[in-house]
């Protein structure tokens, strides 16, 4: 770029902001203002029927209130359980499937696409199908269990003990295709010579997996770990479609709590406060990512 006089620079400025106009408007109205407003609300009590002037600053009251609310503490706990199970399970199952499909099977494409099918399908429609298939009284799964001699099969999504597990199973089923796909793209990046030299050294398949594939694929694992963790802290559709947080508080999660407080109980302060708690969780994951991303990249 040559040295510019101020007139051309002004023209560049104008052009730049004109091209940005729609996205900047969207940013101001649907992002910047809502963030500030939500921040204010999280520290206030507001009877919104009485207009903006009735917003009263109440310090950390909302935060104290939600931590006393069993619905919130259950939501927080369930979110952590959900993240701590779905993420490692989908990543490890996904990696094993990806490696097998990549190297050791016929009908590669068919297998890959079938695993991807749940991911591409609408969560709501899939959830509806699952809740019918797992119908406690006449769903085919329980019919099968009964015919195998299980006298009292779980009531799945209607069962205090099983609901969260069933939701977790659904999520893994739904996400697995994405994990497999990203891993298969990552596996293409591992140079073949590494495998060949391991072959010459007579290393077994399991050895090769642990000493070549696993370390070489670790940047992809790291990426998936972060994305899946963030995704599971935000999970909403699955819960809303399958259980509405029930039975009791057994499957409620932070995102569902926010929705419930805001749009069922109209407690905008509590909803905003818990939204910021969710942000803090996600921000912590992002900080972890920033800290270790460099280390990870340097090692590989």
């Amino acid at each position: 770029m040559a040295i510019k006089n101020s007139a051309t620079q002004r023209k560049e400025n104008l052009a730049g902001y004109l091209f940005l106009l729609p996205i900047l408007l969207g940013f101001l109205i649907f992002m910047l203002f809502p963030i500030l407003f939500s921040f204010i609300l999280s520290f206030s009590k507001w009877d919104f029927m009485k207009g903006l002037s009735s917003i009263k600053f109440t310090g950390f009251d909302n935060f104290f209130a939600i931590f006393k609310d069993p619905w919130f503490t259950s939501s927080l706990k369930n979110t952590f359980v959900f993240a701590a199970t779905t993420v490692p399970l989908s990543i490890s199952i996904g990696l094993i499937l990806a490696v097998l499909i990549d190297k050791y099977v016929y009908f590669k494409n068919f297998l890959k696409l079938s695993i991807f099918l749940p991911y591409i399908s609408s969560i709501i429609a899939s959830a509806v199908v699952w809740s019918v298939v797992l119908h406690p009284s006449y769903g085919p799964v329980n019919e099968l269990l009964k015919s195998l001699g299980v006298i009292n099969p779980p009531r799945w999504f209607g069962d205090m003990k099983w609901a969260l597990r069933a939701v977790i199973a659904f999520s893994i089923w739904q996400q697995l295709g994405y994990v497999v796909l990203v891993y298969m793209a990552g596996l293409k990046g591992i140079p073949n010579e590494l495998y060949e030299s391991a072959d010459i050294d007579g290393a077994g398949k399991v050895r090769v997996f642990f000493s070549i594939t696993l370390p070489m694929i670790s940047p992809t694992t790291f990426f998936l770990l972060i994305m899946q963790l963030i995704g599971s802290f935000k999970v909403f559709d699955v819960i809303s479609a399958l259980t509405d947080g029930g039975p009791g508080t057994s499957t409620t999660v932070i995102a569902y709590y926010i929705y419930r407080s805001a749009f069922k109980y109209f407690e905008m302060g509590n909803a905003s406060a818990s939204a910021w708690i969710m942000f803090i969780c996600i921000f912590a994951i992002t900080l972890f990512q920033w800290k270790y991303q460099k280390k990870w990249d340097n090692n590989n």
Binding site: G26, F37, V128
Partner: protein
């Protein structure tokens, strides 16, 4: 690997068999769904499962879902309307912004870009409550317009476009600039045609996301006649006296467009979804 021994072949075949079993179990709910959607209601839950119905109630079920009491046609139309308009708008806005960040040197460019990208960390839930009030203040609560507006703005789309456009060499634009072309000309005549692959990727991903969007329609729509397909399906499933064969037919209709789009746009979808991963 070229000279595969018999042992290898047997391992490969047994692993294939194992994976086929796993995968078929995974897609069994869908097969069950398709099968149930073609059955008489009375036959839906017969056990052992009749994967291929003994008697068919296919046309009756589907016409009931589309034209009869479930009114799927309306929900379908609502979803298509919202999805198509917001996809076009989002791709256009993202391409414009992507061009500005990639090829125009304006003041505070880095600051604006960083602030936009930083908001990727903010979960939707933070802005959900304020957006609800914005909708009400604008008089747009319970309208498609509001959903389309919020779904047309995407930092992620802008980011994807910018990352691609940055790789298009400046030299290609310089000659056009010397010929006196302004930014609008360069954008329309050079950048857009050259960015076709990323436009296709974003458009398809965005289409799928919007088609599947549930939370926004749940929060911002109230009237039944404005419901999107996802809300409609959820409604069918939860209302009392659910008719399962019809619910399954509706689910088939919700999933089929996604599968068609996926099969036709496979290449772009896979590229878009793995783009971030490979860069690491």
């Amino acid at each position: 690997m070229k000279t595969m021994g018999l042992g290898h072949k047997i391992t490969k075949m047994s692993l294939t068999a194992l994976l086929l079993i796993i995968v078929i179990t995974m897609i069994a709910p869908f097969i069950w769904m398709i099968s149930a959607s073609m059955k008489y209601e009375a036959d839906v839950f017969t056990f052992p499962i009749q994967w291929i119905p003994k008697r068919f109630h296919l046309i009756e079920n589907y016409s009931e879902v589309w034209m009869g009491k479930y009114n799927l046609l309306l929900y379908y139309w609502n979803s298509i309307k919202i999805t198509v308009i917001s996809t076009i708008l989002q791709v256009a806005f993202s391409a414009m912004a992507g061009y500005a960040f990639a090829k125009i040197n304006f003041k505070f460019k880095n600051l604006v870009f960083t602030s936009l990208v930083a908001t990727l960390m903010i979960p939707d839930q933070v802005t959900l409550v304020p957006k609800f009030f914005i909708a009400r203040w604008m008089g747009l609560y319970d309208t498609h317009t509001f959903i389309i507006l919020i779904l047309s703005f995407s930092v992620y789309g802008m980011f994807l476009m910018r990352q691609y456009m940055v790789t298009i060499p400046d030299a290609l634009l310089e000659s056009a600039k010397i010929d006196g072309a302004n930014h609008l000309r360069i954008f329309a005549a050079i950048m857009l045609p050259m960015s076709k692959p990323i436009i296709a990727t974003l458009a398809i991903l965005k289409f799928v996301w919007t088609w599947n969007d549930y939370q926004d329609s749940l929060v911002f729509l109230k009237s039944r006649e404005l419901f999107t397909l996802q809300l409609g399906i959820k409604q069918f499933a939860t209302q009392s006296g659910a008719i399962y064969s019809l619910i399954m037919a509706a689910a088939v209709c919700a999933i089929v467009p996604l599968i068609i789009i996926f099969i036709t746009g496979q290449k772009y979808i896979l590229e878009g979804m793995t783009a971030g991963a490979i860069k690491g």
